[in-house]
Symmetry: C2
Subunit: 292 residues, 2 copies
């Protein structure tokens, strides 16, 4: 089953559902898929909407999609989690996942422009995203697996100049509306990243990342279980699982995104994000005072 959030005009959105092979979306009452899955009975709501001939339906081809989960309470990101990307950065395979957080404002839609003013080193990171479906704390791997609602795609677009300013990556990763998410959430019964899904990133049609989710060091259930040791996760919370090799930072010489380029991010069985970069390399309006 696919879940989505669809723009319905005048700034409004609606949660929507379709079978993997259906040509149209069935709209639900909820304003987005995140609000929908916060209801413990969301599967019943979906079943009723699909069965009801009176439900509103829109064609998949004509629908403009938003980020499926636009307001998660928690977004946890994992770095250094693909065997090939770890090799690229010259590091050892880690014993523990490297984690950082982002805010919901960082997210944007699967076809939105990415507007960035003030970075000269904008890089790409195609990522599999885990969508949590149930409250979970101090979970075993099996409990974590059962709490996974599904999967979607993100590109953790990163401002490497800001990221490299200090030891902590956050300020290069938390730019408003620079992490496209979507296009849909595919439920966990329909897809298995651990068995292997092709993940790919292109710039203007040129493939820059191409790997497989079976290369993940810590898989979806590992990450949900690990994070749940220190914080409760709940419906709609997201875990970005890290990016494979092929980022611009790892190229010789390093390669950065340019204004007007189109970034395409695909995971087989989930879908594709298509985002145009709108980069103005202005210095930010404010630099911190000289810390003399």
């Amino acid at each position: 089953m696919h879940l989505a959030t669809i723009h319905t005009g005048a700034g409004h959105t609606r949660a929507a559902v379709r079978g993997s092979d259906a040509d149209d979306w069935t709209l639900l009452a909820e304003s987005d898929a995140g609000v929908l899955i916060a209801h413990p009975d969301w599967r019943d709501r979906v079943d009723r909407a699909l069965a009801d001939p009176g439900s509103e339906r829109v064609s998949a081809a004509g629908s403009e999609l938003a980020a499926p989960i636009p307001r998660p309470a928690k977004i946890v990101c994992c770095g250094l989690n693909y065997h090939d990307h770890i090799v690229e950065t010259g590091r050892d395979v880690p014993e523990y996942p490297t984690l950082f957080a982002k805010f919901a404002d960082t997210l944007t839609g699967p076809t939105a422009d990415l507007v960035i003013a003030g970075s000269e080193k904008v890089d790409w990171e195609a990522e599999l995203v885990v969508v949590v479906g149930a409250p979970i704390r101090h979970a075993s791997r099996a409990q974590a697996e059962a709490a996974i609602l599904g999967y979607t795609v993100a590109n953790d677009v990163s401002c490497r100049d800001w990221q490299a300013r200090t030891l902590q990556w956050f300020q290069g990763k938390a730019w408003d509306r620079t992490t496209p998410l979507g296009p849909v959430v595919v439920t966990a019964d329909a897809i298995s990243p651990t068995d292997g899904l092709s993940i790919q990133c292109e710039i203007d049609g040129d493939t820059v990342q191409h790997s497989n989710t079976r290369e993940l060091v810590f898989d979806a259930a590992d990450l949900v279980a690990y994070v749940s040791q220190f914080t409760e996760l709940g419906p709609g919370d997201l875990i970005l699982t890290g990016t494979p090799g092929g980022v611009g930072l790892g190229a010789t010489p390093p390669r950065w995104l340019r204004d007007g380029q189109v970034l395409t991010t695909t995971i087989a069985g989930i879908g594709t994000l298509t985002n145009t970069l709108r980069i103005s390399q202005l210095a930010p309006a404010h630099e911190p005072e000289d810390p003399a």
Copy 2:
């Protein structure tokens, strides 16, 4: 003016206000001070409540306080921001603030027990907290200063064993209900951290940190302006400004908090947090699979 969130029984809370020298709190209609200050007319609401003889009032002495802003949308934390703490960690004075994020679930009340299961290296970090009062983006220092609503106190209690597992500090800093916040928010017209406020941390009455907020490398306005370059801040968002020297990690040998100890965190002119540690040094229920 002081703002607070007061426990009113049966799991309920109310926003409250008092003059700096008043003996009682005046309760407002809103459920907490974060909800209150989200209203652009919050100062009018406060003025009306203070002037109304029919307002509910409770004695300050008899009130149990909650975290004043229990559900901020964004909590940004700054590390390595006191000259004395930077010296302690052996680093140079930084050109840029070191930033990371935490989730609202990390917060707890100014007298709450801190329950931690699964860390053997629990450390303390007394911190000044900036409370943002207005939407702000791409701000100058002057604009940032104008957008600061006030200040409160936090202790960024840190699980150093988890923090040191990887390059990113987040997993040692994001444990649910381990960052006490409060006891009150003091409005910016009543206090000036840049001019200097004494900041102090004690363990069972033994002073371990004692510094002054004028030691901050990046002050409140610097941090608000800097963060606003990449993400919009809004009413109730918090910036934890970093901790002075004297943390357990910096001691020789390192010193960790023990079960039953009382952590006292004070900033002159704002107030004191008093929290008892409840530490069980159990291994977590789950360790990640061997990443072979």
